[in-house]
Amino acid sequence: MKYIWLIPILPGLGAAINGLIGIRSFSRKTAGVVACTMMGAALALSLFAFWQLLGLPADARAYDVVIAQWIPSIPLMTQHGVGGFQVPWGFRLDPLSGMMILVVTGIGTLIHVYSTAYMADEPRGGVARFFCYLNLFCFFMLMLVLGNNFVVMFVGWEGVGLCSYLLIGYWYEKKSASDAGKKAFITNRIGDWGFILGVFLIYQMFGTLDFRAVQNAAATMPVESVHFGVLSFICLFLFIGATGKSAQIPLYVWLPDAMEGPTPVSALIHAATMVTAGVYMVGRNAVLFTHAPMVMQIVAIVGVLTAFMAASIGLVQYDIKRVLAYSTVSQLGYMFTAMGVGAFSAGAFHLMTHAFFKALLFLGSGSVIHAMAGEQDMRYMGGLRKYMPVTFATMFIGTLAIAGIPPLSGFFSKDEILFRAFESNKAIWVIAVATALMTAFYMFRLVSMTFLGAYRGPAWESAGAAHGAPDDHGGGHGHGAWHGPHESPTPMTFPLMALAVGAVVAGLFGIPAALNGPNTIEHFLEPSFTAESHIADRGMRIAESGGIAEAAAIRTPQSEVRNEEAEPHVSRSVELGLMGFSVLIALAGIGLARKFYVTSPEISQGLAEQWAGPHRLLSNKYYVDELYDATVISGTYAGGRGLWAFDRHVVDGAVNGAGWLTVISAWFSGLTDRTVVDGLVNLVGRIAQEGSYWFRRLQTGLVQTYALVMVFGVFAFVTIYLFVR
C-alpha cells in the first residue's frame, strides 16, 4: 500500500511516453497498447491496494504516504498567529479514495480499450496524441482523488480541467470543438476561483491544508446552524468550485458543448470521472459541510434544481450525445442533492453506479455513432436493434439502470437518495421524483428512437457520410463506402458488456437495511465522512455508544438508529413504500416513452406543435447560453473595450503628453541657447572687438612712445616711494 503513489504515476508515464515519442513515431496500435497497459497496471495496483485496505480494521482504514516535500514551510499568517505553510506530495488511501481509484482505473481501462477501436480512423499522430491526453487525464484524476491535502487535490483538479480542454478540443481544426474546449476551461476556471478562495480561508482558519488535520480541527468547532460563519463561507466557496467542475447551476453550460469531443472522452471525463470530482470533493470535506447546515441546504437546493432543469432540457434534444450530457448534469444534481441532505455515502454510492451505467450509455452511443458513420441525430436513426444486438442489449440495461428499475444498481443508489431527501425536505423529494420520471422518460425515448421502430437513416451504398450530419466528426468512416450500420468490433463491445455487468451488480453493495441488506457501501464509506476523533455519525448528539467499540456495533444490520436523521421515526414501512413508489414512477416514465415513440409516434409530434412555446424554450436550453452571452460575456468584452479606450487615451495620452512636453521644453532650451548662451559668447567677442580698438592705440609703432610709457612708469613708482616713505 505504500506504493499508492505509483497509481497516478503509471498513466502519467504513459502520457509522457506517448506524448514525447508516440506522436512522432508510434503506430496506432503501439500507442494504444502503451496507454492500455499503463492503465491496466494502475488498475492492478489499485485492486491490490484496495484489497490491502480491506484487510485493515474498519475504524483504522486510512493510510497516508508522503513521497516528497513540495513547498517547504513558509511562515504565513493565520487566524491564530503565524503558521507554517507547507505542502507535501502526500497521498491518502481510505475508503472513499479507494472506491474512487477503482472507479477511475476500472472504467478508465475499459474506455482505453474501447478507444483503440473507436479512434482507429484518426491519423497516426492523432491517435498517439489522444492516448497521451487520456493517460494524462487519468494521471491527474488519480492525483485528485488520492491527494491528502487541498493543494495536491487542486493540482489534480486543475489538471483534469486542462485535459478536459485538450480532449474536448481534440479536433481543434473544427471551430465548434475548439470553442467548446475554451468554454469548458473558462467555466471551470470561474468555479476554481471559488475553490481557491475556499482553500485560502481554510489555511487562514486552520493553519494547515491536510485533510485529516482540517477535519479534526473542524470537528471541534460548533455547528453553524444559525449564523453564516467562517465554516459556511469556506463550504460555500468550495461548493462554487464544485459547481464549475461538476456542472451544476450556474456553471453547467460547458457540459453539453463538451460533446464536441470524441465519445470515449465524453464517457470517461464527462460521465464517470471528472465531473464527479466536485462530488468527491464535497464528500472529502463532509465534516466541514456538516458544520455548515445552511450551505448544505444550498447544495441540496442547487442540486435538485439542476437535476430538474437538465432533465427537462433532455426531453426534447435530438442529438444522442446531448441527451446523455443533460442526463449527466441531472444525475450529478442527484449526487449533490444527496450530499446536501447529509447522505454522503448515498451520494458516493450513486457516483459509483452512475459511473458504470453512464459510461456504458456513452460508449454505447459511441458504438451507434460509429456504426452510423458519424450520424448523431436520433431522428435519422431507428430500428438499429437488428443490426447491433450487443449494443442494443447493453444500452437497454444501462437505460433500465438509470431509470431505477430494481434489481439494477441505479435503483438502489437513486432510491437511497430519494429516501434521504424525503426524510430531510419533502419539497426536494417531490422535485427529485419528478426528475426521476423525466429521466426514465427521456432515456427510454433515446432507446426507442435509436434502436426501435423503423429505420429512418440514409440508405447505404450511397455517398456514405456526406449526409450533412450536423455533428460529423472530423474522422469519418474509414472503410470507404458505407455499408450500412453494423455491430462494432470486439474492443468496443467488450467494454460495453463489462460495464453492463457492473451496472447490474454494483447495486448489491448498497442494499439498504430496509430490505434486510447489509448496506455494505454505507458502512464502508462512513469513516471517510467523519472526523477521526469520533467514528460516530454526523449528528454527534445522537451517538449513544461513544468510543471505538461502536465500530463493531456498526456492522450489525440492526443499525437503523444510525440511519436516522433529525426525524428519528421514519419507519421501515414508509421506506419500503417509497421504494415501491419510485419503481412505479420509473415504469410510468418508460411506459409513456414507449407510447410516444414506439407505438404512436404521431402523438409526440402533435404535442410538440401544440406546446410550441415551451417546446422551443426547452429546445433552446432555457436560453441560458444566450443570457450568459448577453450579460457576462458582453460585459467582459465591454470592459475590455473600455480598458482599451483607457489605454489608448489615458496611458498613451500620458506618453504622448510626455513626448509633447519634451518638445516644448526642447524649444525653450533652444531659445535659451540662442539668446542667452550665444548672446554671452557674442558679448565676449564684442568686448574684445571694441576694447581692442583702444588697446590698439597703444601700439603706435613709435619706439619713443614706448620709452615714454616706461618713464611714466618709473615716475609713478618713484612718486609712490616718495609719498610712502
Binding site: R696, Q699, T700, G701, L702, V703, Q704, A707, L708, V711
Partner: protein, 101 residues
C-alpha cells in the same frame, strides 16, 4: 661743503634724466643709442659712489659688468641699425613703425 655721496647721487640722477630725455625726444636712432650710453654711465657713477662710501668692492665689480654689457648691447644694437638701414634707408625712428597696428 665736503663732497658727500649725495652729490654723486644727484649728479647721477641728472645725467640719467638727460639720457632719458634724449631717448624720448630725439628722432635719430643713433642719438638715441648714445643717450642710452649716458644712462648707463649715470648708473655706473652711482654704483661707484656707493662703493666708495661703503668701502666695498662690489660696486665696482658691478660697474665692470655694466660696462661689459653696455659694450655688448652697443654692438648688437648698431648691428640692428645697420640691418634696418639697408632695408629702409632711414635712421629716423618715426619711420621705423613697421610694427604699428
Amino acid at each position: 661743503m665736503p663732497i658727500t655721496t649725495t652729490h654723486y647721487i644727484l649728479l647721477s640722477a641728472a645725467l640719467f634724466t638727460i639720457g632719458v630725455v634724449g631717448v624720448m625726444v630725439r628722432r635719430n636712432i643713433i642719438i638715441i643709442f648714445m643717450s642710452i650710453e649716458l644712462i648707463l654711465n649715470a648708473v655706473n657713477i652711482n654704483l661707484i659712489a656707493f662703493s666708495q662710501q661703503l668701502q666695498n668692492g662690489i660696486g665696482q665689480v658691478f660697474a665692470i659688468f655694466v660696462i661689459a654689457v653696455a659694450a655688448a648691447e652697443a654692438a648688437v644694437g648698431l648691428g640692428i641699425i645697420l640691418a634696418f638701414y639697408r632695408n629702409k634707408e632711414t635712421v629716423n625712428i618715426d619711420e621705423m613703425n613697421v610694427m604699428r597696428s
